[in-house]
């Protein structure tokens, strides 16, 4: 458990945050320049904020009032950098083993073999970083941070330097990290899809302030909290694979509601989480007929939030979970939408990208 309180004057705005990071993967979610990297660097000890208090597992890492500031090498926080930062003069094996030497004897350690297998880097052990691809480097970076027996893992936009295909490759490894390792992870991102796939809890940041913190489903389902803008908004649903159909669709079930997605590679009965982008959701007062969309969720309006432009964000509570829909003000008025109104949320099967479907990890 990590508790962070920071105050720092940055060019353009003041960073003033206070939040907690429970076990699991917490995404520090916000636009570029919202102060996320400053926060993470302060937690790691790479920079010293003007005022703040950081406590990890009861150990005080920083307390500006008391004058305590542990140097980075004493904090036992594993950091996965955006650019990997592997040591070019060491083999992958030595890179991985680097931190293990400095970890205290009684610290719970990961087994090197297990980590190598988890990250599928067994073939790379005797290679040097100069000979690795971007994705391979990031996997080694994850392993290296993990093997240093940290009490917390920081990841600063670790996928930002990769192209889409590589991102898709690496995301599952972060999912495994989240699901198989007990160490809490603080993950910085401005990409809603990463948040959707990985987050068990979210701290939404805008202009240096915390908009909301809580479980991923809560925060992403809040129409007032759009840290990355309305275009990136989307709620998360937890579902279970029911069966795969012969025509290339997978049927899932969430809260009793059937959902159809393009074929996903998971076994029957496996839990999944999906992110439904708000701008992919159509609302209808009546149950629609003859519509091509296969996913129709009944629900009631939980909240309405007008945006700066012609749009309005509608939060709909369905048996499958909270869904956000972005529609025009005009339509909202035409449909006479108000809190409590009953309606249907409609999502096209094909609009849910494979990248938005992930292994479970509790979202709620």
């Amino acid at each position: 458990m990590l508790e962070v309180t920071l105050k720092q004057e940055l060019p353009g705005f003041t960073l003033d945050v206070s939040f907690e990071v429970p076990t699991g993967l917490t995404v520090l979610f916000g636009r570029s320049g919202a102060g996320k990297t400053s926060i993470v660097n302060a937690v790691a000890g790479l920079s010293r904020p003007q005022a703040g208090r950081i406590v990890a597992d009861g150990r005080v890492l920083l307390d500006t009032d008391a004058g305590t500031c542990l140097p980075p090498h004493r904090r036992r926080i594993g950091y996965i950098f955006q650019e990997g930062r592997l040591f070019p003069h060491m083999t992958v094996r030595r890179n991985l083993a680097y931190g293990a030497r400095f970890a205290p004897r009684d610290a719970p350690r990961e087994d090197m073999g297990r980590v190598v297998e988890m990250l599928a880097i067994g073939d790379l052990l005797d290679r040097r970083p100069g000979a690795l691809s971007g994705g391979e480097k990031q996997r080694v970076a994850i392993g290296r941070a993990l093997l240093a027996a940290p009490r917390l893992i920081l990841a600063d936009e670790p996928l930002a330097a990769l192209d889409e295909e590589r991102k898709g490759e690496i995301l599952p490894y972060f999912e495994r990290l989240r699901d198989e390792v007990q160490v809490p992870i603080l993950y910085v991102s401005h990409a809603a899809s990463e948040v959707g796939r990985l987050a068990t809890s979210v701290v939404a940041l805008a202009d240096g302030k915390v908009l909301r913190q809580g479980s991923a489903a809560e925060v992403l389902g809040d129409p007032a909290v759009l840290p990355a803008g309305a275009r990136e908004a989307g709620a998360i649903l937890a579902a279970r694979v029911v069966r795969h159909h012969a025509d290339g669709l997978t049927e899932l079930e969430a809260g009793g509601v059937p959902l159809f997605l393009p074929r996903i590679g998971r076994a029957s009965g496996a839990p999944v989480r999906l992110r439904i982008a708000a701008h992919d959701v159509i609302l209808s007062r009546d149950l629609p007929r003859g519509l091509s969309a296969l996913n129709i969720l009944p629900g009631t309006v939980a909240a309405l939030r007008p945006g700066a432009g012609p749009g309005v964000m509608v939060a709909v509570d369905t048996p499958a979970g909270r869904v956000l829909a972005r529609i025009t003000e005009r339509s909202a008025r035409a449909l006479d939408l108000a809190e409590g109104a009953a309606l249907h949320a409609i999502v096209k099967t094909v609009s849910v990208a494979p990248g938005d479907v992930g292994g479970s990890g509790a979202a709620a």
């Binding site: 790479l46 594993g78 930062r85 040591f87 070019p88 003069h89 040097r128 100069g130």
Partner: protein
């Protein structure tokens, strides 16, 4: 030509090697520390240190030699202290020639090492810190291996400069065969002595051969190390 080499000339060659090697080996650790301090630390007096290190580069060598004489001679504050406390003398001895060579070569060493330290991405050092390495460990395991090519270059440069040092040496410890008469001093003496031209030429050839060997060696080592350090599978 080899037959014409006199014992005195061989002596000058041996002495030059001894003086230059000692000077380089002793100034290496200090040079690396000073280079690191100038490259990575901020402290009051940093600019002064930088200037002090570069003084032998810009002062006339004779002036440097004279200052060494004043400070490290048997009558000087540092020289006298070292003599009384440890029995270490520099005046009129090869140790003084080594000191003169070391001082004159120091700026070259520091510059080369500093440049290579500045080329090391500080982000790598940061990464090492987050993995639990305290500053000395970071230096030993990350910075040092990455600066080895630069250190080699600086060492060879310092060695070559030490082999060629003249003005400060003759002013500080004068010309004493077997103790301070290095190749440059022997050449100078040969040039001033009637009929010494042949001797001067032989010694000059030695000088050139030794310098070329040192350079070739450093190139070879540098290339091998650079490949390993650059992250390519060596």
């Amino acid at each position: 030509m080899i037959d014409g080499v006199t014992p005195a000339e061989w002596e000058a060659v041996r002495l030059s090697l001894r003086v230059a090697t000692t000077a380089t080996l002793v100034s290496l650790p200090l040079g690396v520390v000073v280079a690191y301090a100038l490259a990575r630390w901020r402290f009051p007096g940093r600019e002064l240190l930088n200037i002090a290190v570069h003084l032998p580069l810009i002062m006339p060598p004779v002036v440097t030699g004279y200052l060494l004489l004043l400070a490290f001679g048997t009558q000087g504050p540092i020289g006298g202290l070292l003599d009384r406390a440890f029995g270490v003398t520099f005046a009129f001895r090869w140790t003084g020639a080594a000191l003169a060579s070391g001082v004159m070569a120091f700026p070259f060493l520091v510059r080369a090492v500093r440049l290579s330290i500045e080329a090391v991405d500080p982000k790598l050092e940061q990464a090492a810190a987050t993995l639990g390495a305290a500053r000395p460990w970071v230096f030993l395991t990350v910075t040092l291996p990455l600066i080895v090519p630069g250190v080699i270059a600086g060492t060879v440069l310092a060695f070559a400069k030490g082999m060629g040092e003249f003005g400060a040496t003759i002013t500080f410890v004068s010309n004493i065969p077997g103790q301070t008469q290095t190749i440059p001093l022997a050449i100078d003496l040969a040039l001033e002595t009637p009929g010494g031209a042949a001797r001067a030429a032989r010694l000059a050839v030695f000088s050139i051969i030794l310098a070329a060997l040192a350079l070739a060696l450093s190139e070879w080592v540098s290339r091998r190390v650079a490949a390993r350090v650059g992250g390519r599978d060596a």
